[in-house]
Symmetry: C2
């Protein structure tokens, strides 16, 4: 018997494929005319099926955030994979094992001793493809722009090492998540572009190669006014979108492809609340969206019978649902099902081993038309 | 070759079995003299091995928070399992499937329509064992004390149904987590005891059975001054403890059995930070401990070379580590390993499929002496 939204055990993760396809189409239409490749960050989707859909219009390059993802996507046929978290020497043998399968698993550093360790490992016979990471203002990893301290030294150590390809420079404008207008995001996008293009030019001026100039977050990919000098973008959450992205204006309210389905398990009229069977594990404790959407809690209820019905608190397997006005308990009886828009899709999805796929265009949006697996862990 | 803390891939979850055993011994020594059974809430550990250790001195009854846990522990030989999240009718067939394997999987409700649905399902031939949930002040699930609205009606529907056992009453004083002194926790523990014992007496006064009177959280199990009338306690996090428990005084600093091991992946002296490869997924975004330990961030670094070295921010796979004083980068070189005390162990552990077990008494505390699996998902 085919499952539907009425028969799946709760909590579970529901993906609307029609919205996913629209989201992919939108980013494709942004990047294609600018002749920029998409290297989607599949840390969000962690799914071979979704990776294939996201890259269908491009050359198949992808980004991952763990070696477990690298192995999984390699097994799924992807051949150009950037492992986007700063490498440490103890992980090089695992990188080599994947590269020996014919996969160009590329790595990242912003550190001279690590560059030397890569050169040493390469001298022993292993080959590597390495990006240098640039901090374009997010204050996370990378050589801070505009100083770019040590950039050329790191580039030279890598380029001079036998069996090492200096693949290029990469950055991630994570601070775009703290802007809430297209103009604000566009300003961050320009910082991101300027930082990574300047780094590339600095390497080239020193006689070093820099074939790939890689930037990107979902907000900057959506709102950048220029990609000049950038060769690829690495947005991740664009495939699903979430309340956080809606709050900052990266997407519209109809662009959220992912939801958690839960059952109503208790009515508490004396405190105007109800409980659902999706709590801290099913939704995550990420509250990013509250920055620009204070009532988002741990997620808004989709198609709710009252305004701003949200999960306002979570314990491990209980979600507390509340609104400003009296709850219409008759419309949300015990055992009825609700869908929650995730606050931050990347973190919420990580609790699940699969997507239950519906399609609101090709099907009725309630029948499960496919199941996609996911790779979690490290 | 035997793995050690120096060879495991990071991030990973490390469990010190010696501390776990001490934690189990401590709760055993609290409950045994009071003739109270331990029904540990295995939503924290989600491990058959740990479940066996926790119940070794008792009769083997346990609590779980998902049907996936119920199936897993049933397969592991446990025969008296309380599924502690309010049941909905659509889950009854899954409960029955487990019960038919010879497992007394007990369920919970606080709702008359659900009690009637259970009675209806039982009339069709399935048997059930049901607890009525009481809200002793936490404001989560349960009939609120002291009103206990509908308690006897629910009890009577269940007791009168063929094939249904009214197993008793249960409560969880989750508000004990917001006290930070033994006296404060003891006060909550007394509320918890009074609420559930009063509910039991109310049922008995109405001529209904109430064999099991179940209470418990780790703080109240540790600090209750009386268990009179309570027949079992259901603490969960006591097996591991965490910064949250240390902050409220449920345990001491030496009682934390669980840590996340991560690698230092970047140095950022211009902002007095370093990065590790454990972020929002490896640590969780739970910040419960900050209520009484404002500097805990997403976790303190164990055995740190400077005071209050903590993970102060997280993105998906990056943890930002900082302290009030200058970081001694020479003592934390790139590639070196740190262990992070989790803020809230139950939520952190849920990202991992296994525990790497060390033993700081029977072994050197660095050699992996065992691996325990975990059951995640639903």
């Amino acid at each position: 018997m085919t499952d539907t939204l009425d028969t799946l055990p709760t909590p579970c993760l529901i993906l609307d494929r029609a919205i996913l396809r629209r989201n992919v189409r939108r980013i494709t239409e942004r990047l294609k005319p600018a002749d920029v490749q998409l290297r989607p960050h599949l840390k969000t989707a962690k799914s071979v099926e979704i990776g294939r859909m996201a890259t269908a219009a491009f050359d198949g390059r992808i980004t991952v955030s763990t070696l477990a993802e690298a192995r999984y996507f390699a097994a799924g046929g992807f051949r150009d994979i950037l492992y986007g978290v700063g490498i440490v020497p103890s992980k090089l043998p695992a990188v080599t094992a994947i590269r020996r399968e014919g996969v160009n698993l590329r790595i990242v550093t912003d550190n001279l001793p690590v560059a030397r360790a890569i050169a040493d490992a390469a001298a022993a016979g292993d080959s590597f493809s390495v990006f240098i990471e640039i901090d374009s203002g997010a204050g996370r990893a990378g050589l801070p722009f505009p100083e770019l301290p040590g950039l050329v030294d790191i580039g030279r150590v890598l380029h001079d090492a036998p069996n090492v390809e200096l693949a290029g420079v990469m950055t991630h404008a994570g601070h775009s998540y703290h802007e809430s207008t297209p103009a604000g995001i566009a300003r961050v996008a320009e910082q991101e572009r300027l930082a990574v293009v300047t780094a590339a030019e600095t390497l080239r001026a020193a006689g070093l190669p820099c074939p790939i100039v890689s930037a990107g977050s979902t907000p900057t990919a959506m709102h950048a006014r220029s990609f000049e000098g950038v060769t690829e973008m690495r947005p991740g959450v664009f495939v699903f979108n979430d309340l956080d992205q809606a709050g900052i204006g990266s997407c519209g309210a109809g662009d959220l492809a992912l939801s958690v389905m839960a059952s109503v398990i208790g009515h508490y009229p004396h405190r105007n609340q109800l409980l659902i069977d999706a709590g801290a594990l099913a939704l995550s404790k990420d509250i990013s969206a509250q920055e620009f959407m204070p009532k988002a809690g741990y997620g808004f209820i989709k198609d709710a019978p009252v305004k701003d019905l949200a999960v306002v608190a979570c314990s491990q397997e209980h979600g507390f649902v509340q609104a400003d006005q009296p709850l219409p308990y008759d419309k949300l009886p015990i055992g009825s099902r609700v869908r929650i828009w995730p606050n931050h899709a990347c973190i919420t999805a990580a609790a699940y081993d699969r997507y239950h796929v519906v399609d609101s265009e090709e099907s009725d949006g309630r029948t499960i038309v496919a199941t996609y697996d996911r790779i979690n862990g490290w």
